[in-house]
Each structure stands twice: as structure tokens, then as C-alpha cells.
């Protein structure tokens, strides 16, 4: 309980960070309870009311097929969370073992880190597009394609942090007392990585959100039948002058979600051990 309270402390001190946290909780709730909250089915078409502006029946208006924009925006939050969480999990599951291993076993580690350097020579969006060409466009493949770009940054950060932890006195003490490497990792390294990882995760989540929306917009992400904020924006393109509300709502949702995640990440970073702080940028 104390631990939870200490995590919440920076939010209580900064109202805007608290707002970010609340916003994030709202998006998660919207995603979970989408069928309950959404006033209509996201796919129900009604040609009679196509492209109608926001009105009491349809708060966010309707699209070119007469589908309710509010309901689609709510259902699309599921896709946003899926991609965001997916990319974070992908980045952590690959980056943490790679980074920790490379730092603990420098001989092989140096080779691995050089390989990460090679991957970093590819700008993330091009890397994602290349992977999409190989894997084919789909929601899951967006996660892998976007995740690959964050694999490298996450590995580097974990590598740097582990190197630092490795030279801490208590780790050296444990090692000199004959602790096995596995024990060392479980007991001393990983627990100390949790806080910086939480910070990194929130930034990765925010930028993954934007990258996945870009893929959707280019028609190389989730299939158009799935409501996602990026797909909705791609469709709205033809109607921007006739139906600007189709442009407004999904884009605002992307922006607010990414903004909330950045705020949360920033506040968590301020709470971090200052020795780690300089290694984590918001520019993930």
C-alpha cells in the first residue's frame, strides 16, 4: 500500500499529471466497457443519416455510411490499447533479456549490442514499413513492425542501466559472496529496473500509438474493417470539408491519449532515482 501511495505522490503534486492519469484510466475503461458505453453498434450503417453533423442523437455526428462516430471512437480505443500494450510488451520481452544479458556477459554482449547498433541505423518508420512488406499488413503485424523500432532503444537503455547496476557496491558484494548470476539478476538487477522500465513503457506506449496511427493512415496497418483512430482519419480524408467532425474526434483521441501517456511518463521520471533519470528521454 505504501508503495502504491509513493507512486501516486508525484501525481498528487502536479494537477496536470493527475489529469493525464485520469484521462488514461478513462480510455482504458472506455476500451473495456465499449459495448456498454457506446450508444450504437460501431458497424451499423444507416444511409439516411450519412454525414450528419453532431446532433443530440449522434453526439459526434455520423460518417459516410451513417455509422455513429462516437461509438466508433469508443470501440477504436480497444485497438489503440491493444497496439500500445502489444508494442510495450514486445519491446520489454525482447529488450530486457537482450540488454541484461549483454551487460552481464560482455564478450557476446558486445557483439549483440553492435547488432542493435546496425538496426538503429534504420529510421523507425522505414524499419516498420519494411517489416510490413515482409509480414503483410495486419493489426498484429503493426505491433511487431512498430515494436522493432522500440526494441533497439529499450535494449540500449536496459544495457546502460544494467552496466551501472553491475558496478554498484551491493551487487559486487553479492557477487563476491558467491551469488549465482541468475540469483543476482532476479534479486538485484530486475527489481531495480522496474521503475525506469515503467517510465520507458509510458513513452513507448505514447509513441507506438502515433506510429501505429501513421501505418493505419497509410493503409498499411489494421484492416479498414476494424475501427481504429488511424483508420477513421484515413477515411475522413475525402470528406474533410463536408464533414470536419470526422477529422476532429479520432485525431483528438490520439492526441489526448499520447499526451496523457507523456505526462504520466514525465511525472514518473521525476520520481526516479536521479542516477537513472538522465538515461531516459521523452524522445524514446
Amino acid at each position: 500500500m505504501k508503495r502504491v501511495a509513493s507512486w501516486l505522490a508525484p501525481f498528487a503534486a502536479r494537477p496536470i499529471a493527475l489529469a493525464g492519469l485520469i484521462l488514461l484510466v478513462l480510455v482504458v475503461l472506455a476500451a473495456i466497457f465499449a459495448p456498454v458505453i457506446a450508444p450504437y453498434e460501431p458497424d451499423t450503417m444507416d444511409p439516411i443519416i450519412r454525414l450528419s453533423p453532431p446532433n443530440p442523437d449522434h453526439w459526434f455526428g455520423t460518417d459516410q455510411f451513417g455509422r455513429d462516430t462516437l461509438s466508433r471512437v469508443i470501440f477504436a480505443s480497444r485497438m489503440a490499447l491493444l497496439v500500445g500494450v502489444g508494442v510495450v510488451v514486445f519491446a520489454l520481452v525482447t529488450g530486457v533479456p537482450l540488454g541484461v544479458f549483454s551487460a552481464l556477459f560482455p564478450r557476446l554482449g558486445n557483439v549483440l549490442m553492435r547488432m542493435v547498433d546496425v538496426l538503429m541505423a534504420f529510421p523507425s518508420l522505414l524499419l516498420a514499413l519494411g517489416l510490413i512488406v515482409i509480414l503483410g499488413p495486419s493489426a498484429v503485424n503493426s505491433i511487431i513492425a512498430v515494436g522493432a523500432g522500440f526494441l533497439t532503444t529499450t535494449t540500449r537503455i536496459i544495457y546502460g542501466l544494467t552496466l551501472r547496476l553491475k558496478s554498484e557496491t551491493y551487487v559486487e558484494a553479492a557477487r563476491s559472496m558467491g551469488s549465482r548470476t541468475g540469483w543476482l539478476v532476479m534479486k538485484h538487477i530486475l527489481p531495480n529496473l522496474v521503475s525506469p522500465l515503467l517510465v520507458q513503457a509510458s513513452f513507448v506506449f505514447a509513441f507506438a500509438q502515433l506510429a501505429a496511427a501513421s501505418l493505419d493512415f497509410l493503409g498499411l496497418g489494421a484492416p479498414p474493417t476494424i475501427p481504429s483512430w488511424g483508420n477513421m482519419l484515413a477515411e475522413s480524408r475525402q470528406f474533410i470539408t463536408r464533414a470536419p467532425w470526422l477529422l476532429f474526434f479520432p485525431g483528438t483521441m490520439i492526441m489526448l491519449t499520447a499526451f496523457a501517456l507523456n505526462l504520466v511518463g514525465d511525472s514518473l521520471r521525476d520520481r526516479l532515482d536521479p542516477r537513472f533519470r538522465d538515461m531516459l528521454g521523452g524522445e524514446a
Binding site: A121, P123, L125, L126, A213, G251, E283
Partner: protein, 315 residues
């Protein structure tokens, strides 16, 4: 100094070598027979064999790589299947648009990001600082294509001040006035990047202002604005300049989305069209060119960093 440069150049070449293997391997990682994927199922075996031979796909893989890499070194990136022209000339056609777009964007980033970052740092902790930093974070959270679509809606559709799409070359009719076609796209591309540079400038200024020599300068009684311009800004500039190098290279890849929104005939849109056309040699060529630009920019940044800051030597 020269041994440092030599070491960095060698490291870059090694990275480039491995990157080129990945880029080369790309065409082999595509599921199915790339020849039929490119030509479609209607291709006759004869056509397929011809393309296979012209791409060198009928030879041992190591030989294929050497041949591809050797040609690439000589500036020959193969032939586009869709345009029936050398990949290099397709890239050259888009280069003017993309380079101009990236350059104008860099000007916006410089004009917006750096001064506002300095102001925020100088008023550190004030309401103004919080407002500016908050606004920067909000701007960094906005999808670029969304900004682009809004700029089109407001400045092209509603106000009619600026064109919404396309870009005729400045060497065609209209001359330099054609740059107005790049005004909205460059602002779009600049938005998130200016925000990042703003945050970086602010953070870097704050870092430097905590240095001992800044305190000494203040204690000596040097005028506050001189401390800022001479002691803080000059040193803070290092981090910002190095970020500029990365940003320029990154803009070339981020332009993929912006060029699509504004239908600009640049390299970014060429990537997207080549993906849709399954024109793999073009994708391969563009990725190689962008990676080379990226690595060379990094190299220049590294070396200039060392020239600007002798302390780097110690590390």
C-alpha cells in the same frame, strides 16, 4: 584527431556493411516467390525467368549480394519494375521535393524550437515555462497527418490562401514561388520535431546553467544576459546541434506520411507507392540511400561534436 576520425569512419563502414546485408536480405524474406509477387500470377514462365535473371535471383546468394553491393557502390541500385527505369533516377526525381521539404522544415524547427526553448529555460519554473513546456508536449503528441489535414482544411479549403497538394519544381514555371506548395507540408512535418527540439534546448540550457563556471560567471558580476548568451547558450548548443543532425535524417523517413497527405512527388511518397505496387527494388534502394544519409550525418555530427567540445576527448 585523425585516428579518431579514421576509427569512426571504420565503425560506420562496418555498420553500413551489416545494414546492407539486411537490406539485401529483405527481398529474400518476402514470403512466396518475389518474382511472381512482383509480376502477378498472370506472368508467363518466360517473363518470370527474364526478371529472375535480370535481378540475378538465379545465382548463388553470396554472389548475388556481391553483385548487388558492387553495383550499389557504383550508384546502380537496379531497375524499378513499375516505372521501367533505373531506381536511381526514380529516387533522383523525388530528391528535389524531399530535400527542399526537409530543409524548409529544419528552418521552422530552428526558428520555433530553439528560441522558445531558451525562453522557457530562462523562465524556468514560471507559469510561462510550464505553459510552453506543456504546449510542446501536446504538440509532440499530435499525429503529423492530422496536423496536415487540419492545415489543408483551414488554409487551403476554407481560406484558400495556399495550395493543398502537389509540388511543381522550382525549375519549372513559377520558379521560387512554387515553394508555397511546401509551406503547409513543412509546417506539418516541423510540428512534432520543433516540440522535441524545444524540450531538448530547454533541458540542455538548464543542465548547463547548473555548471560551476556559470555560477562563477554570475558571481564575477557578468551581466545576466551575457551569462546566458556566452556561457550557457554556447555550451547548450552542442546537444542541440547534434540533435539537428539526427533530425534531418529522420525527417527524410518521417516525410513518408507528410508527402502522402499532401500528394508531394517526393521520396517518401515513392516508398508508399512502391509498397503498394510491390516494386521491391525501389524500396530496397530508398532504404539503402536513407540509411547511408543517416550514417553519414551521424558521422559528421560525431566529428563536429569532437571539434566543438575538446572535453569529449577524455571519454
Amino acid at each position: 584527431m585523425w585516428s579518431f576520425v579514421l576509427k569512426r569512419v571504420m565503425a560506420m563502414l562496418v555498420t553500413l556493411f551489416f545494414a546492407s546485408i539486411i537490406i539485401f536480405g529483405f527481398i529474400h524474406l518476402i514470403p512466396g516467390d518475389p518474382i511472381y509477387v512482383m509480376l502477378g500470377d498472370m506472368a508467363t514462365p518466360d517473363q518470370a525467368e527474364k526478371l529472375r535473371h535480370s535481378l540475378g535471383l538465379d545465382q548463388p546468394i553470396i554472389f548475388q549480394y556481391l553483385q548487388w553491393a558492387g553495383r550499389a557502390l557504383g550508384g546502380d541500385l537496379g531497375r524499378s519494375i513499375f516505372y521501367q527505369a533505373p531506381v536511381m533516377s526514380a529516387i533522383a526525381d523525388g530528391a528535389e521535393t524531399s530535400l527542399l521539404l526537409a530543409s524548409i522544415t529544419m528552418i521552422w524547427i530552428l526558428l520555433i524550437g530553439v528560441p522558445i526553448g531558451i525562453i522557457a529555460a530562462m523562465r524556468h519554473g514560471s507559469l510561462l515555462d510550464q505553459a510552453l513546456s506543456g504546449a510542446a508536449m501536446l504538440l509532440a503528441s499530435v499525429p503529423t497527418f492530422w496536423v496536415g489535414l487540419y492545415l489543408i482544411l483551414i488554409f487551403a479549403a476554407w481560406l484558400g490562401w495556399l495550395p493543398s497538394s502537389g509540388y511543381p519544381s522550382i525549375f519549372d514555371d513559377g520558379g521560387l514561388a512554387n515553394l508555397r506548395y511546401l509551406l503547409l507540408p513543412s509546417l506539418t512535418l516541423a510540428a512534432p520535431n520543433a516540440a522535441l527540439i524545444l524540450r531538448l534546448t530547454r533541458a540542455s540550457m538548464l543542465d548547463v546553467s547548473r555548471e560551476d563556471y556559470v555560477r562563477t560567471a554570475r558571481a564575477k558580476g557578468i551581466r545576466p544576459w551575457q551569462v546566458v548568451t556566452r556561457h550557457i547558450f554556447r555550451n547548450a548548443l552542442l546537444a542541440v546541434v547534434s540533435a539537428f543532425g539526427f533530425t534531418f535524417a529522420a525527417l527524410l523517413s518521417e516525410a513518408v506520411v507528410t508527402e502522402t497527405v499532401f500528394a508531394l512527388p517526393g521520396i517518401g511518397r515513392l516508398v508508399v507507392q512502391s509498397i503498394l505496387n510491390r516494386d521491391y527494388p525501389v524500396i530496397q534502394g530508398i532504404v539503402l540511400v536513407v540509411v547511408v544519409i543517416y550514417l553519414v550525418t551521424n558521422l559528421i555530427v560525431d566529428i563536429s561534436y569532437r571539434l566543438l567540445d575538446p572535453r569529449v576527448q577524455l571519454q
